[in-house]
Subunit: 352 residues, 4 copies
């Protein structure tokens, strides 16, 4: 009996890409100025400017929470509201961090199918009680790309939302915890998916896709760059040995590792999806495009898989709804092995 | 002519101990639960419990600012005051972070020679306007060990300050950014230097002494452990791939690497001090015991050294005052080379 | 043609009861200690203790926002969540004040008919992601009595909600901006409507019902009294000439002025309701019990009334929904005059 | 034996000028829009614009703490520092309110004789660690006029400090808790003492000089007016029945009541000073110019006065240092009576 137990709980359970670890080891030579004044940090900022085809300012932090909340606090006054989809990570999974970083700015949630903000909802949101001093003022729109459920805004959708945002005089943030997964799925350029659609600040996630603990706040609108440096410091996110964060980013970007990693994660999700949709007992939910799959699965099947040591989130959103997340480290063998177990669990193995 | 340019600006310009990097590489195998629920994190907490001879709760963060400010925010109400020496890092170099983390708690500074809080000053401070609702209320005492100027509280001094603190009903925090350097200088146990003197929470610094970006908040008073976990999350300091922070700590603690590293840093400072005090043009300030040396140096000498590419802070505190910081990575050769340059600079080389 | 233009926009457009103004004038004699140490303040606290049949601690502030947010900040840690009905004033009309006062605590909204929190919703809410460090922790339940739509929790309803709150280990706050209106409608004692049901802290509103700018934070759970005094000061709500706030409260409580005022407001709403429900063109919404009435009214009727100078909120919640609020200062003549205008507006005058 | 017990502890122990109370009563007629949209509020803003010879925006609040901290929070980013004299009220008596209102901005204290900021100290302060991300950035200068010890900046002194402030790119706030007392002493115009010297926002204190609880934030730089309205609301300082605050201000300004009140307070202090300086046992400290006097007095004298029921602060700053504060309500008889008691206490009565 198998004791193999691949988990699909999240992409943050993977380790680190070997190339990233090597880059970190490579920079462990001699002395380097602290706090981002080292050559590696300068080079990483330059490299991200190249990636985004724009002269950007980059602030490394170690978590997505920090990247998102620092970005939002620089874009939003304390009496402001951040508009996001009600499934947004900043709305559900930050233990009040956005409110803390900004001394009380509120999150105003919007609806939309496939976890994507609906343009009509946004049009309502950007005007919500504007000028009414009894209500937090719409200030910033935050979009997650890819979304928390694995769907992806098309470039057209992003540009429509960006235009609504900018016409209303608001600022735009992108939570790119899974930026790479979205990018390779859309097969577009990083510039097209960000500032060309109106994004002012991007949380450029890398940890889920191969680094150890390096997220980059990529600032397209440089008017907020200086305050970002003070905000990062006073929230305890200015690392001293910054070269190692920069090295992670360099290893991540060099030779398109990040794109290859994202493609692998997405491909493994597609392979899993393809296997699952053949099973009538299992029904896929929505149209997953990146590395996250939601589906409905019978309880006896969930139980059998758990009993074999597989791990994934289930019955958290609705009864019998399960979520599978793949990562750069997921292999074809992992998927085959798991699909085989699912097949067995739903009783198909015998039939074949 | 030499182009060798060892810097003595800080101990954060060093890289990472090879053993730490190896421990990180070693844990990069397979999947691991995120957010500190992995085996490495559990092991590291256990190991720190052994080190401190007490069942402690450990919270990893990546910066000393985070370790200090999270600790202080858990110990101090928003209307409270944190008492520390006026040279304290939390008073001078955090860009308002302690106030931010705690929504406005103030720092009340105390005097004392050799950068150490004077017991009489503390006795005054713990009673400062207690009960007066127009003034922030003394709540927490924060001591830096080793201090910002490289001096070290003796165990007796710590216990006296701890008793004053506890008798007044206040809590005690230790900023241990250079904890190892102090410990090996005192040649005592970690327990003696902390909870046995009354310390409730310790910022156990490791980054300056060999890790990459791993500081541990060591909680001796477990009543605040639960809130610490929420506070860490909402400030963006809950890392997902926590195993790599734990691995750093494991590599740091195993085989007493941390003590060996600290001894090396201290020994190099002692060697430097010994060389400098032979030179009448140079006068040492205070009585450095760890890995920081302050001295007065003639301007022409400072200029010569800088011109040769040596780097250190000077003329920042007072005219002609310079600071040298050694680290675990400083070698005897570094010191000899530098002393030789200092000798030349003050004109002694010719005489010898 | 009439130029009479009684407004029904809110009960805060009324002036001050003459008895309150007289009490203020009466205390304007000689010197008095500031900050609540005067005789009037002490007497007012005593009088409220009598009113509530309990030895309470009282903190005067000048606005309901301050009363609510100070109360909530004392009951809720920064990583906590305040549970309230989604129509709650603290959720909709405070411009982020609850989040500001508490450095980021979030509001978690609950459903329920007639603007009252549903017990089943509360049972779900008090357990919402308890122990999950990624989510704000349920800490405080805040109920508005009378509610924002003029309905009133029965004592049984309050006690059920109180029991759920307390069994889950949470604290309970009551927003009593219209406390008097609810009390006289229920015809119960202040004690029954508060601490006997589990209320820990009450925002005892008085401004809408006859005072000028005096709200009392009534603290039943004295363990938070001391911190309240620091919280009030640091938010700028500790008035120096406190005797005048106390005098307002004395004038308000003496000879049951507050109860008489509340009865007048409620009676005027009942009279208005009685007149409106006779008109088939107008349909009442819900079952108003205090001094607020919601109804649906045809647009031509709204327009006619506005044209005559009557003022009220309309088309704010849904098309054709209007709100009328009466106050202690509303007279029978005001209501008769207005009803007559409504009759005319809907075309009944001619018919009669 | 006398039971007469005039207190000189502060000017906030006085009641309210009758004219102010009358103005409040006069406006208690009919309905009025809440939150400052009433005619009285509009008129009061207009009247202050006339007083200051500039089109100002006015925000009423009920305490000086609120006026100061809202002003500072609008002028200073969270990573900023507010520069003030070390004796400044915002530094000593606000229980962390400035830090709370601004989510952590720090106070950087400056020295200077007679409680006035020294220009050289300010020149140092405005440059303190500018650009260093480890330190709060100098942002706002706050001057108290009259100072906490009763001295007064001359117009020349104000203009020199204003020029230093503005040349460095900082903003300027004036804490005018005793603005009237300073103004009549200088015999200049309100414009000269404020915006003509560079003041951007003024806390125009009125409570100590005759109103009940009305302070005006007078905004000269209108770019911050909009955010002030949100900041006031979210800190709980937007009063609903604002007309009564406006009425206080109208009563205070009409017929120059405020100037007459301030002259009376100052004259009474001068009379007291004149009487005290004749007594060799008593030595005046500094050069009081407004309504506060500090002097040294023998312990036996202090004790005798206290025993007779007189009240004043003593031995709070240094042994035998006492403070006397007069107000608009202090009469010549009060001073004569008290001076006679002091004479007796020091033993002169018999001699004369």
């Amino acid at each position: 009996m198998s004791t193999y137990n691949t988990a699909f709980t999240s992409d943050n359970i993977a380790g680190v890409s070997p190339q990233v670890l090597e880059a970190m080891a490579r920079c462990n030579v001699g002395q380097a100025d602290p706090y981002g004044r080292d050559d590696y940090s300068i080079k990483a900022e330059k490299m991200l400017s190249d990636v985004f085809e724009k002269d950007v300012r980059v602030f490394f932090v170690t978590t997505g929470t920090a990247a998102n909340c620092l970005s939002l606090s620089a874009l939003t006054p304390p009496w402001g509201a951040v508009l996001c989809h009600h499934e947004g990570h900043i709305n559900n999974d930050e233990c009040g961090a956005p409110e803390f970083f900004n001394s009380g700015a509120r999150v105003l949630t919007l609806d939309g199918t496939d976890s994507k903000v609906d343009p009509e909802a946004l049009k309502w949101g950007v005007k919500y009680r504007v000028g009414d001093m009894h209500s937090s003022q719409p200030s910033t729109v935050s979009l997650t790309q890819a979304t928390e459920s694995g769907t992806i805004y098309t470039l057209d959708e992003l540009c429509v939302l960006g235009a609504i945002t900018k016409n209303a005089g608001l600022r735009m943030h992108m939570d790119g915890a899974r930026f790479g997964n979205a990018l390779v799925a859309l097969n577009c350029s990083p510039a097209e998916m960000t500032w060309k659609c109106g994004v002012d600040v991007l949380s450029f996630g890398a940890t889920k896709n191969g680094t150890m603990s390096a997220e980059a706040i990529v600032v397209f609108d440089k008017t907020i760059a200086q305050e970002m440096s003070f905000r990062r410091k006073r929230s305890g996110h200015l690392g001293s040995k910054m070269r190692f964060m920069a090295a992670q980013m360099l290893g991540y970007l060099e030779n398109d590792l990040w794109l290859r990693n994202a493609r692998q994660a997405n491909a493994m999700a597609a392979m899993l999806k393809s296997g699952l949709e053949k099973l009538p007992e299992i029904s896929l939910i929505g149209s997953p495009e990146a590395n996250i799959i939601f589906c409905k699965m019978p309880t006896y099947c969930i139980d059998k898989l758990l009993a074999q040591g597989f791990r994934f989130y289930h019955d958290r959103w609705e009864p019998n709804v399960v979520r599978f997340v793949t990562s750069f480290a997921t292999t074809e063998q992992d998927i085959q092995h798991f699909l085989s177990a699912v097949n067995q669990a739903v009783g198909y193995a015998q039939a074949v």
